[in-house]
């Protein structure tokens, strides 16, 4: 294996590792086979595993995810691709009402070990229907695990955990990170779902981020360090299970919290984090809690407009400066 691996390659590698160890793992989705996926995140799988394990589907999001569910209930471990996370809306019934509930409503009679992978997030000028960060949609539904890795190594490790999980996992691959690179993890690298990572230490403020917002938070932290403000950056990695222990432990050191979220402020995941903090971590807080989140508008096409909507390093820096002056 090469010295570096891209996030994009890591997706295919993560899936391939699991397909090699477990014959029950099969993939389905639109154009994922010979074409290797629209984002090339399944490149090579069709060549290695063939058409009996990598299935091209019609444009039928409900059938894709519904069939994955039926297969998961009967002994397989399907990995279904929904091309853009915006299109989760086209099969939302399965994500909201079927997959997360069937185990519970049958009193635990069945399990649904499946992964729904999807390309998430904005910043690429794809406009209102191909740019959303929709991880917060999934957070509204108890019964789904939610993974959103920020690095190639995490993609592989969390993909392993997701595919091995007996619970349904929605796996958000960030479009803005696909080209990013990092060290490839060792064989059998598994990152347990529900473990946040402190990716930078600092004593003055805790930045809690996810996926593409992790590098934004890290760049902001580097800028803030020039001003003498030391930000600790927590990569949540998952929204469910939500690792509030790590967030609260960080807050105990810093006394200040800022969430950095790509999804809109209204109904964003940071709100849930903040509400736990405002309850259980209230005594730790020395200042208001701030959320740097997407503006509450659809995503516009033009770069200049999109930057006004999605969190940027500048916005994080300004918010933290302002907060540390509190």
């Amino acid at each position: 294996m090469a010295d570096v691996i891209s996030y994009r390659e890591a997706v295919a590698e993560g899936i391939a590792r699991e397909m090699r160890r477990d014959a029950a793992v099969v993939c389905l989705g639109e154009d994922i086979g010979a074409a290797g996926g629209v984002f090339k995140t399944t490149a090579g799988l069709f060549e290695e595993f063939g058409p009996r394990r990598v299935w091209d589907t019609p444009i039928s999001e409900q059938a894709i995810v519904g069939a994955a569910m039926g297969a998961a209930m009967t002994g397989m471990r399907p990995v279904a691709e929904i091309m853009f996370s915006d299109f989760l809306a086209c099969c939302w019934d399965y994500l909201a009402n079927e997959i997360p509930k069937v185990r519970y409503m049958t009193g635990g009679q069945v399990t649904v070990p499946l992964v729904v992978r999807t390309a998430n997030g904005g910043g690429l000028g794809f406009g209102a229907q191909h740019s959303q960060a929709t991880e917060n949609w999934a957070l509204t539904v108890p019964g789904l695990k939610i993974a959103a890795p920020a690095t190639p190594a995490d993609v592989i490790g969390m993909m392993a955990a997701a595919i091995r999980s007996d619970d349904p996992v929605v796996f958000f691959e960030h479009k803005g990170l696909l080209a990013s690179k990092g060290p490839p993890p060792p064989p059998d690298h598994v990152v347990e779902l529900g473990r946040a990572a402190v990716v930078r230490e600092g004593a003055d403020v805790t930045l809690v981020a996810l996926a593409a917002m992790v590098p934004v938070a890290l760049r902001a932290a580097a800028r803030l360090a020039e001003d003498g403000i030391e930000a600790e950056v927590v990569d949540l990695r998952c929204l469910v299970p939500l690792d509030m222990s790590t967030v609260l432990a960080s807050l105990a050191r810093t006394s200040r919290l800022v969430t950095v979220e790509e999804n809109p402020y209204q109904g964003g995941w940071g709100a849930t984090v903040v509400s736990v903090v405002a309850d259980e971590g209230f005594g730790l807080l020395d200042a208001p809690v701030r959320r740097v989140a997407g503006e509450c508008v659809p995503l516009p096409f033009a770069d200049a407009l999109e930057e006004r909507v999605i969190p940027t390093v500048d916005k994080v820096v300004t918010t933290v400066r302002d907060l540390t002056a509190y």
Binding site: P58, R103, V110, M244
Partner: protein, 325 residues
């Protein structure tokens, strides 16, 4: 069909009918909460189809699914205990009437979002193929479900992948209160759609358990042999309203009367007579069924309520329900 087999199917149908009658009565006594969608009148479809299936095949049904659960191995006691919110219910009282499920016998669930289970059944059939078994999957659904998008997606996928799955429509002429003909562009809502998927689309008298058994057996054989999915439209009628709150006054009296005369139990009884089964053998079956159901009612009545904290379990495969670490 030989007499002993038909008698057994008849008895199964009577058990379903009696269990539903019990559910209805228990509802009126305030012992069943929420809602129920009785399948009285539809018994022959569940019982006939099940007779044509193997124990390892998969069944997916709807909120109107008591008959399927029982035809597929759930006991009246398990079902009634579920409806009566007992810990001993099929789903530990978490599911209720609309979600009767007995996974151990291949009854993979009753789903209450119209049409949603059709892709699931396709997926179970796909899984059978992937695992190299010759199991098949069957989805039962109503006439109303033929107009929802998931129907279309499931049928196309199943056809393209040639999956061993049967789509069995229980056409009872109505969605909830609206006649299916008022909202559907074709006369046979299921069968007339089959050409759009290049698969067989057949019709059958859904109140004749033998006809249903034969039709399903033929299509199942085909599917098992690798010849792909099929649509079967079974004509039937519900004896009650859509759900417990519906007196069904929107149905013409003449129509109701005609269909009540075309009762699946009567038809089966007629066939038994033709086959020379003596009256008292039939009566004995009736009595056995009644007895089973009466005992089930008693057992369910006496079963314990669920522990409230059970509400916080069974979300995850490890049995837990925590969303945080």
């Amino acid at each position: 069909m030989e007499a002993p087999e038909l008698l057994a199917l008849y008895e199964q149908m009577v058990v379903v009918r009696r269990t539903e009658k019990a559910a209805h009565d228990l509802f009126l006594q305030g012992l069943v909460k929420g809602t129920t969608h009785l399948a009285a009148g539809h018994e022959a479809i569940a019982v006939g189809a099940s007779a044509a299936l193997r124990p390892d095949d998969y069944v997916f049904a709807t909120y109107r699914g008591h008959h399927h659960a029982m035809a597929r191995g759930a006991t009246p006691e398990e079902c009634l205990a579920e409806l009566m919110s007992r810990a001993t219910g099929l789903c530990g009282a978490k599911g209720g009437s609309m979600h009767l499920t007995k996974a151990a016998t291949g009854m993979l669930g009753s789903y209450a979002i119209v049409g949603a289970h059709l892709p699931m059944a396709a997926g179970a059939a796909w899984s059978a193929r992937l695992r190299g078994t010759d199991q098949i999957a069957v989805a039962f659904f109503g006439d109303g479900a033929t107009n929802i998008g998931a129907f279309h997606e499931a049928l196309n996928l199943a056809a393209v992948w040639k999956l061993p799955v049967l789509f069995v429509c229980e056409n009872n002429l109505y969605m909830e209160y609206t006649p299916i003909a008022d909202v559907t562009a074709v006369a046979r809502p299921a069968a007339d759609r089959a050409p759009a998927y290049n698969i067989p689309g057949e019709s059958v008298d859904g109140n004749d358990v033998v006809a249903v058994r034969d039709a399903v057996a033929a299509l199942a054989r085909r599917a098992r042999a690798g010849d792909g999915p099929a649509l079967l439209e079974a004509a039937t009628y519900r004896h009650f309203g859509h759900s417990r709150s519906d007196p069904a006054t929107y149905r013409p009296a003449e129509e109701v009367e005609r269909w009540l005369k075309h009762d699946p139990l009567d038809i089966a009884r007629g066939r038994l007579t033709e086959l020379g089964v003596p009256e008292d053998a039939v009566t004995a079956a009736d009595e056995r069924a009644l007895d089973v159901v009466q005992k089930a009612v008693e057992a369910a009545r006496n079963a314990p309520a669920p522990d409230p904290d059970a509400a916080l379990t069974d979300v995850w495969a490890d049995g837990g329900g925590a969303w945080r670490t």
